[in-house]
C-alpha cells in the first residue's frame, strides 16, 4: 500500500466550513479513489484546523488490471454453420486490431454474440490522481463561497498552498489557481516562511507538530480539556460547559494553550447568563463555576504559550474589564425601565420590511397563544401567556440585547422576573427562542412552548406568505430552523392539535399584509413542514419509505405522524407486514384511474365479497377509533385482519366484472378499504424486497 496525504492550506476558515470541507473530503475522495480502483479497502481519514484541510489514506500504488469484454456481431452473423468466420467477423476483428482466431462466443441477455476479452492495464496512482484531486478539491462547497484576487475559482477562503504526496513523492495537480507542491508551512506566527517537506503522512504530522501545529482535532481538544483541568482542579472549579465554544476553539487554534484569568468580584452581581455571554462573545472565553455558582475567573485558549509576563492573559483581562463594565451599566440601566414601557417602542423596530414591526408581531402572538392555550388545555394560564406574548420582544430594545443579541429572550426573562411578572410568564419569555435547532432543548414549561411555537409559526407564515422559500443552501429568515423548532416542540410536548388550523390562525392574524392568497400560502407551509418532518425523521434513523408512509397519511396532526412512523417501524419485521403491504398495493393498483364508486350491500353476490364486507365493517370502526386515539400499533394490527378476507376476495371474485353494477360495487368496496388504510398509513409508499425503490 502507498501512503497518500493531501493538504489544502487556506486563510482562516470558519469552524462550520472546516467541518463541511472535511466531511466532503472524506466522502468524495473515498468514493473517487474507490471508483478508480485505488482504494481497495478502508476509507479516507481527515484532519484539520482553521488553516488546513488534510486527508490521508492507504492507497494502491497502481490500479489493478481490468478485464473488459468487447462485444461484436451476433454469433449467427459472425460464423457460418460450419464455423467459418463471415466477413462481418473479419471486419470486426480487423477494426479492433485482433486476430479472428481470438474471437470467442459470449452468451448475453440478447443472445449469443462474438467478441474478445481485452486487458486494460492499470495505471500508476500518480497518473490517475491529478484528475481526481482537481475534481474533488474544486468541487468542495461551503455555506458561503468567495472569490479572491483575479481568480475565477470559488472557495470558503483563499487557498494558499496545496500539498499532495504519494509515498513522499509529489503528485502535481492544479486547482484554485495553484499547482500542488511537496511542501507546507507551519504556524503562521512562529514559522511563517520555513518550508516543510514531509516524506510521509507520519512525517507530515510530526514535522507540523514541531512547527507548532497539531493537525488532529481530537488531540487539540484533549489538550484544551487537560489544560483546563490542570488550572481549575486546584480551585475545585470547572468551566461552564459550552460545546459550541469548545468546537470553535478546537478548530480556530492550531496549537492550543490554556490560560486562567480573573475579573473584579463586584461583577458577580450580574446574572450568569450575562457574564458568560460577555465572556464568550468577542473574546471566546469560558466561564468558571464552582458548586454551580460563577466565580470571578475565566479560562481562555490562546495560540501561543504564555510567558511570565502574561500578555495574553492581561490583554484579555483588560478587554473583559471594559466589557463587564459596559454590561453592568446596561444591566443597571435596563432594570430601571419596565418591560411594558419598553414594549411601546416595538412600534419602531422592524420585524420584516413588508411584515411590519415587532409591535405588530406581539399583537399576532397574543391571538395565537390564546388559541394554543385553548387547544392544549392550558386555559388557566391564558392571561400569563398573553402577558408573555406582549412583552417577549421588548428586550430587543434593551441596551443589553443591542450589545449582545444572543441574549434576546433570556434578557427579557431575567428582567421580567425582577420586575415582578409571574415566574411562569418570565420563564416563557426567557425560553421562547428555544429550541434554536434540533439539538437544542425545548422550553421547559408549557407556557414557553406555547409562546415559542406561536413565534416560530408566525415568522414562517409571514415570510412564506410573501412568497419567500428556502432553497438549497439558503435558508432566508431561518425558515428551516424555525420549522425544526416548531416540530420539536409539538413532538416533545406530545401535543395533539390540528396543525392545519393553527396555520390558518397564523395566516388570519396577518390580515391583508401577505402577498400570497391564504390557500396557496397554507399549501406551501404544509408542504414545507412535510419536508422538514421527513428530514427530522430520516435523521433519527427511520427508513425513508416508512417515513413517506407515515407522512403520506397526513401531517395535520404532527404527533400522530410520528406515532404512525413508530408503529410502522415496530411492525415492519412482523410476519404479516410484507404480505399486507403487497395486498395494499394490489388494492391501490386496481383502483388506479377508476371513478369513485358506492357500495350497495344488496349487490354483494359472492360469498367472499360478503365476507370481506362484513370483516371491513368490524375492522373499520375499531381501526378508526384506535387511529383517533393515536394508537397506531393496535390500529395497524386491526387492519391486518383484513388480509385473509382480501386474499379470498381476490382469489375468487372478479373485480372487473363484465356487469358495470357489480364492477362498480366491488371497486367501491376496495375504495372504502383503501380509505380506511390511509387513516393508518400510506402503505403504498412502503418498499418491500424485490421491488424498485421509491414511488
Amino acid at each position: 500500500m502507498s501512503d497518500f496525504v493531501l493538504e489544502i492550506m487556506t486563510e482562516e476558515l470558519p469552524v462550520s466550513h472546516v467541518l463541511a470541507g472535511l466531511g466532503q473530503l472524506r466522502e468524495n475522495l473515498a468514493s473517487e479513489l474507490h471508483g478508480a480502483g485505488l482504494l481497495p479497502e478502508g476509507g479516507v481519514d481527515v484532519f484539520g484546523t482553521c488553516r488546513r484541510l488534510v486527508a490521508k489514506a492507504d492507497i494502491s500504488p497502481r490500479q489493478s488490471d481490468r478485464q473488459e469484454r468487447v462485444i461484436g456481431p451476433p454469433r449467427s452473423a459472425a460464423f457460418t454453420e460450419d464455423g467459418t468466420p463471415t466477413p462481418a467477423a473479419q471486419g470486426f476483428a480487423r477494426s479492433r486490431g485482433v486476430e479472428v482466431s481470438r474471437l470467442e462466443v459470449y452468451e448475453t441477455e440478447k443472445g449469443a454474440y462474438v467478441g474478445f476479452t481485452r486487458t486494460e492495464e492499470g495505471r500508476p496512482a500518480g497518473d490517475v490522481l491529478p484528475e481526481i484531486l482537481t475534481r474533488v478539491v474544486s468541487g468542495l462547497t461551503f455555506p458561503k463561497m468567495m472569490r479572491w484576487s483575479d481568480n475565477p475559482f470559488r472557495f470558503s477562503r483563499p487557498v494558499v498552498n496545496l500539498l499532495c504526496l504519494v509515498d513522499g513523492r509529489p503528485v502535481s495537480f492544479r486547482t484554485c489557481g495553484l499547482t500542488s507542491s511537496d511542501f507546507t508551512f507551519g504556524h503562521k506566527i512562529f514559522f511563517p516562511e520555513r518550508k516543510i517537506y514531509p516524506r510521509s503522512f507520519e512525517d507530515y504530522r510530526d514535522s507540523l507538530r514541531t512547527a507548532a501545529v497539531v493537525i488532529d482535532p481530537g488531540e487539540r481538544r484533549a489538550r484544551i480539556e487537560e489544560g483546563t483541568r490542570a488550572l481549575l482542579d486546584p480551585l475545585g472549579a470547572s468551566v461552564l460547559a459550552d460545546a459550541g465554544l469548545m468546537d470553535k476553539l478546537v478548530y480556530d487554534i492550531e496549537n492550543p494553550y490554556v490560560f486562567l484569568g480573573s475579573f473584579d468580584e463586584d461583577y458577580l452581581r450580574l446574572p450568569l447568563e450575562i457574564l458568560s455571554t460577555a465572556m464568550r462573545e468577542g473574546q471566546h472565553l469560558f466561564s468558571v463555576v464552582k458548586s454551580g455558582r460563577q466565580i470571578a475567573r475565566f479560562v481562555g485558549v490562546a495560540d501561543v504559550r504564555q510567558d511570565d509576563r502574561g500578555h495574553v492573559r492581561k490583554g484579555n483581562e483588560r478587554v473583559l474589564k471594559a466589557r463587564l463594565k459596559d454590561a453592568d451599566f446596561f444591566w443597571q440601566a435596563d432594570l430601571k425601565v419596565p418591560l411594558r414601557k419598553r414594549a411601546e417602542g416595538l412600534k419602531r423596530v422592524v420585524f420584516q420590511e413588508k411584515l411590519g414591526s415587532y409591535a405588530d408581531k406581539a399583537g399576532r402572538l397574543k391571538k395565537l397563544v390564546v388559541y394554543l392555550c385553548g387547544k392544549i388545555d392550558a386555559g388557566r394560564t391564558k392571561s400569563e401567556a398573553v402577558a408573555a406574548a406582549e412583552l417577549c420582544k421588548a428586550d430587543l430594545l434593551t441596551e443589553m440585547v443591542r450589545e449582545f443579541p444572543s441574549l434576546q429572550g433570556r434578557m427579557g426573562g431575567l428582567l421580567a422576573e425582577r420586575q415582578g411578572l409571574s415566574r411562569a410568564a418570565a420563564r416563557a419569555i426567557y425560553e421562547h427562542y428555544q429550541p434554536a435547532g434540533l439539538e437544542d432543548a425545548s422550553p421547559s414549561a408549557p407556557l414557553g412552548a406555547v409562546l415559542s411555537l406561536a413565534d416560530k409559526l408566525d415568522s414562517i407564515v409571514g415570510v412564506m406568505g410573501l412568497g419567500i422559500q428556502s432553497t438549497g443552501s439558503s435558508d432566508p429568515f431561518g425558515l428551516r430552523r424555525n420549522a425544526h423548532g416548531a416540530c420539536k416542540i409539538i413532538l416533545d410536548r406530545r401535543w395533539v392539535l390540528s396543525f392545519g388550523r393553527l396555520v390558518d390562525m397564523a395566516f388570519g392574524a396577518y390580515g391583508a399584509k401577505l402577498s400570497l392568497p391564504p390557500a396557496e400560502g397554507k399549501a406551501a407551509v404544509l408542504d414545507f413542514f412535510a419536508n422538514r418532518l421527513r428530514f427530522i425523521f430520516e435523521r433519527q434513523g427511520y427508513r425513508y419509505d416508512l417515513v413517506n408512509a407515515a407522512l403520506g397519511a397526513g401531517i395535520d396532526n404532527i404527533l400522530f405522524a410520528r406515532l404512525r412512523l413508530e408503529a410502522l417501524n415496530a411492525l415492519r419485521l412482523s410476519a404479516q407486514f410484507e404480505p399486507f403491504i403487497l395486498m395494499a398495493k394490489r388494492v391501490n393498483n386496481i383502483l388506479r384511474g377508476e371513478p369513485a364508486c358506492r357500495v350497495n350491500a344488496g349487490l354483494l353476490v359472492e360469498k367472499e365479497e360478503k365476507a370481506l364486507w362484513d370483516m371491513f365493517g368490524m375492522v373499520k370502526d375499531n381501526a378508526a377509533a384506535l387511529c383517533a386515539r393515536g394508537e397506531f400499533v393496535p390500529a395497524q394490527k386491526m387492519v391486518f385482519r383484513l388480509q385473509p378476507a382480501l386474499n379470498a376476495f381476490f382469489d375468487r371474485v372478479l373485480v372487473m366484472a363484465e356487469e358495470k353494477k357489480l364492477r362498480h360495487n366491488r371497486l367501491g368496496m376496495l375504495q372504502a378499504v383503501s380509505r380506511l388504510l390511509l387513516q393508518v398509513a400510506d402503505y403504498s409508499q412502503v418498499v418491500v424486497e424485490g421491488e424498485a425503490a421509491g414511488p
Binding site: M146, R147, D252, A302, D303, G315
Partner: protein, 304 residues
C-alpha cells in the same frame, strides 16, 4: 519630538507610541507597498469603505492601491464623552488593494510587527466576520482580527459593491486606530490616549464628543433634517441623469449621514426607515452601475 516612531517594546507593547506615531507608521508601511496615501474625505461617512477612494475604485478591474485615515461618524454611538471607549466619531486606517495579493495576510502581520508588537507574545486570531452594507449594495467575506481578545482590525475580501459582482477582488483592511492605540499605550480610557507627545485625546476630542452627542441626540432639528434628506436625494437623482456621478455620490453620502442623525434622534418610524434606506440604496446602485458602464441602471436590479 520623537526621532523614531517605533520603540522597542516595554512591558506589554510599544507603550510610548502615540496615535500620530501609529498613523505615520502605518502610512509609511503601506506607502512602501505601493499604496497611494489619500487624505481623509471631506463629507461625513460612517466608515472608510464609503469614501470615493474605495467605493468607486473597487468597481472596475483596474489595479488600485490606497491607504488613508478616515474619521468615521456614527451619531448614535455618542456617549457625551462619558464612556471610556464609545464615541460618535472615531478614526479608521483604511487600506484597499486590488487585486488582493496572495501574501496580503503576511503583509498585514508585518504591519503589526512594524508597530512594535511582538506577535510571538500575543494571541492573534482571525475570527469569521463577514461584512454587509445593504445601503450601498455591498458585501464581502472576511474576519475581525483579535489581538489578546481585542478587535483591532477588519479584514475583508469584497465580493460585491453597488450591487455589482466585482470583476477583480479587492481586499480591505481597516485598522481601528483608537482601539489599536489603546492596546499599544495600554490605556483603558480612550480619552487617556496621546495623540502626540503633548496633545492628549481628551484635549483634542472630549468637548467635541460632548457637544456632538448633545446635537445628535437632543438638538438636531428634525424638520430641517427631513428637508435636507429630500433636497440631497432629489439633487442626487438630478445629477445621476446628468452623468455627474461623483457629485451625485456625495449627495448620497449626505443623505446617509442625515438618515443616521434622524435615527439617533429617534425620529424614524418603521415604514419610514425602510423607505429611506431603499431610497438611498436605489440611488447608490444607480451611481455604481452607471460608473461601471452597466446598461441595467434601474437600481432595483442589483439588490441582494
Amino acid at each position: 519630538m520623537r526621532p523614531d516612531p517605533v520603540r522597542p517594546e516595554g512591558e506589554g507593547g510599544a507603550a510610548d507610541m502615540t496615535l500620530q506615531d501609529l498613523i505615520m507608521n502605518l502610512q509609511k508601511f503601506w506607502a512602501a507597498r505601493g499604496c497611494y496615501l489619500a487624505q481623509p474625505y471631506d463629507v461625513e461617512v460612517g466608515a472608510g469603505t464609503m469614501t470615493p477612494d474605495t467605493f468607486f475604485r473597487v468597481l472596475d478591474a483596474r489595479p488600485w492601491r490606497t491607504a488613508y485615515v478616515q474619521p468615521a461618524r456614527r451619531p448614535a454611538d455618542g456617549r457625551f464623552g462619558e464612556n471610556p471607549h464609545r464615541v460618535q466619531k472615531h478614526h479608521q486606517f483604511q487600506v484597499i488593494i486590488k487585486p488582493s495579493p496572495a501574501d496580503i495576510q503576511r503583509m498585514y502581520l508585518d504591519s503589526l510587527s512594524g508597530l512594535g508588537i511582538r506577535l510571538e507574545d500575543h494571541d492573534l486570531r482571525f475570527d469569521e466576520d463577514n461584512w454587509e452594507s445593504p445601503t450601498i449594495g455591498s458585501w464581502g467575506v472576511g474576519w475581525q482580527v483579535m489581538l489578546d481578545g481585542l478587535e483591532i482590525s477588519q479584514f475583508t475580501y469584497f465580493q460585491q459593491a453597488g450591487g455589482i459582482d466585482l470583476p477583480s477582488v479587492p481586499v480591505e483592511i481597516t485598522y481601528g486606530l483608537e482601539r489599536l492605540a489603546m492596546f499599544l499605550e495600554e490605556k483603558d480610557d480612550i480619552y487617556d490616549l496621546s495623540w502626540s507627545a503633548d496633545v492628549s485625546y481628551r484635549d483634542l476630542r472630549h468637548r467635541e464628543e460632548k457637544e456632538f452627542s448633545a446635537y445628535n441626540f437632543e438638538e438636531a432639528g428634525i424638520k430641517a433634517l427631513r428637508q435636507q434628506f429630500g433636497l440631497f436625494s432629489r439633487e442626487a437623482s438630478r445629477l445621476i441623469k446628468r452623468e455627474l456621478l461623483l457629485p451625485a455620490y456625495d449627495m448620497c453620502l449626505k443623505c446617509s449621514h442625515v438618515f443616521n442623525l434622524l435615527d439617533a434622534r429617534g425620529a424614524i418610524s418603521v415604514t419610514e426607515r425602510v423607505k429611506l434606506i431603499s431610497e438611498i440604496r436605489a440611488l447608490v446602485i444607480q451611481v455604481a452601475r452607471k460608473y461601471a458602464g452597466r446598461k441595467d441602471e434601474t437600481g432595483e436590479a442589483g439588490r441582494t
